[in-house]
């Protein structure tokens, strides 16, 4: 709160005061009062008025300065009411009480949405568990009746499962609740489980796999990271180059404070103009439009999940040459101590 601005705000009472003072002076002169007395009266009037102004200024200043500072300092500024005392001047009280009421009504409103979101999330999770039962049943049935069932059916089932999982992880990634569990997981196991799931898809597309130097443990949630890896591998298959020997190379680098997983392919790559946008929601880019239909959600969800897990994910690519996806897992020193 600045004094100059405060005074400007009080321009009307101050000018009224000067008008009053001028009238008093006129009256005093009219009654031919002694000049000395006029001086004394003037001093008293001015002193008290200035004191009055300053007192009311500093009272408000201490409240509002604190108030504004706290708003700036908080990352959730709606919590500011918790950090200040109720002011002792009337306007402040009105502000304080109103903010209290506004906050309350906003919290109720937000809570309402939270409940709705939670209900929705629970329903989606439940529905996904439900829908996986007939999928499992069909996969088993197809396996038991290989002689009469085309292999394509299993492949289509796998596609359905992938799409269903995408919804599950979208809901999980958008949710504020912490529903993952970070523990030590073997990187080679995660990779092998993901590749095994995509075996038919990879073989059908004649993609050679090179998996090398991945015998490390990383701190992560195995199910979440398998979903992320699945998205990346599916992209590699989807955007492979025709007429060349395609490969996907999975390696890891173990550094002092982190482990980096690198998934490289020799597919069509990503145009320079698109590369900064691939993690954006619903971004399909040039490749997504040319090739098969793409929802633009896979990498967006992958990035969100990585953020939640505390992993970094980034992509380097050269059009028509390669795409490399990097995921870094940091090592927790505290965790090392506990072991």
């Amino acid at each position: 709160m600045k004094l100059s601005k405060y005074l400007k705000d009080k321009l009307l009472p101050i000018s009224l005061f000067f008008v009053m003072y001028f009238i008093i002076l006129l009256i005093l002169f009219a009654f031919k009062v002694q000049t000395l007395l006029i001086c004394y009266i003037s001093i008293v009037i001015f002193t008290f008025n200035i004191i009055f102004l300053l007192i009311s200024y500093f009272r408000k200043k201490s409240f509002y300065d604190n108030f504004l500072l706290n708003i700036k300092g908080l990352d959730k500024s709606y919590l500011v009411l918790e950090t200040i005392n109720k002011p002792k001047f009337y306007e402040g009280e009105i502000l304080y009480d109103s903010l209290y009421e506004i906050n309350k009504s906003m919290i109720e409103n937000v809570k309402n949405y939270e409940f709705q979101m939670n209900d929705f999330r629970e329903y989606i999770e439940m529905w996904i568990h439900e829908v996986k039962i007939p999928i499992s049943s069909l996969i088993l049935y197809a396996h038991n009746h290989k002689d009469i069932i085309d292999k394509n059916l299993v492949y289509q089932m796998k596609k359905i499962e992938d799409y269903v999982n995408q919804v599950l992880y979208y809901v999980r990634s958008e949710n504020a609740e912490k529903d993952y569990l970070i523990k030590e997981n073997k990187l080679d196991k995660i990779i092998s489980d993901t590749l095994l799931k995509n075996k038919d898809y990879l073989l059908e597309n004649n993609i050679n796999l090179i998996v090398d130097n991945v015998n490390y443990s990383v701190l992560t949630d195995s199910k979440w990271i398998e979903f992320i890896l699945n998205q990346i591998i599916n992209n590699s298959i989807k955007y492979k180059k025709n007429n060349t020997d395609s490969y996907i190379k999975i390696t890891a680098e173990d550094l002092n404070n982190k482990t980096i997983l690198i998934i490289e392919d020799n597919g069509i790559g990503i145009p320079l103009s698109d590369i900064s946008k691939v993690f954006n929601k619903s971004f399909t880019g040039t490749n997504g439009r040319i090739r098969s239909k793409s929802t633009g959600m896979g990498l967006f969800i992958a990035k969100n999940l990585c953020n939640k897990l505390g992993h970094k994910i980034y992509i380097k690519s050269k059009e028509n040459e390669y795409t490399k996806v990097y995921i870094t897992f940091s090592k927790d020193n505290y965790y090392e101590v506990l072991k």
């Binding site: 568990h129 999928i135 095994l196």
Partner: protein, 220 residues
């Protein structure tokens, strides 16, 4: 014959699961009612249990906890709950493995097989006719010669051996190889099988792996 108990409330899944297990040479028993699950399990006395988490009356995890008070039978949790928290919980309650639905049926059989192997602590030497196969060293030998198999050849031969006299599909062999982090392609599988055949010929067994057109292979 090993007895496997299926605890699963979806009728269609348990029917197919039962067929899968029977085809793989196990005896499968289905738990029809879940009211007295624990007592029924003990009565059946299975060699292994496939346990779903979402079953009526009692949650699968709680059932496992109860069961562990009186039995050490191997349990594989089979569930559509795809979360690490559930997996860790199940394992801490004493599950031997955790498989998420929908699963690859061949992978399920491999996992069952590996649990049985672990329990029986089968030594690393198995026999086929007069051949002795050392799984650890990766060798096959008759009385005169010893031949070294590559890791891939050994995985293939071992799978065929475990399913002797049954038709084994290329897909099953491929699944076992990939499950062992050997990500080979179709051509490589063909090459590996022909190498395995010629190595078997060296120890005196020609044509014991027959090709069944469009289906797979069979070890006689």
């Amino acid at each position: 014959m090993k007895k496997i108990l299926i605890i699963e409330d979806d009728k269609s899944i348990r029917k197919e699961l039962s067929k899968l297990l029977e085809d793989a040479g196990y005896k499968s028993i289905i738990l029809e009612s879940f009211e007295n699950a624990k007592e029924d399990i003990i009565k059946v006395n299975p060699d292994l249990i496939l346990l779903d988490i979402n079953i009526p009356y009692i949650n699968g995890e709680m059932l496992l906890l109860e069961l562990r008070k009186s039995s050490n039978v191997p349990v594989i949790m089979v569930t559509s709950r795809n979360s690490q928290a559930d997996e860790v919980l199940s394992m801490s309650y004493g599950a031997d493995d955790y498989i998420v639905k929908p699963y690859n049926p061949t992978v399920l059989l491999l996992r069952i097989n590996s649990i049985f192997k672990r329990i029986e602590k089968t030594n690393n030497i198995v026999t086929y006719k007069d051949l002795s196969i050392n799984l650890q060293k990766g060798t096959i030998s008759n009385n005169e010669v010893e031949i070294v198999l590559t890791k891939n050849e050994m995985i293939i031969f071992n799978y065929l051996l475990n399913n002797q006299n049954k038709i084994v599909t290329r897909d099953e062999l491929m699944t076992d190889l990939w499950n062992n982090s050997e990500y080979i392609n179709d051509n490589a599988l063909t090459v590996n099988i022909s190498r395995l055949r010629s190595k078997l010929k060296e120890v005196g067994y020609d044509n014991i792996i027959e090709t069944r057109k469009k289906i797979g292979y069979i070890l006689l």
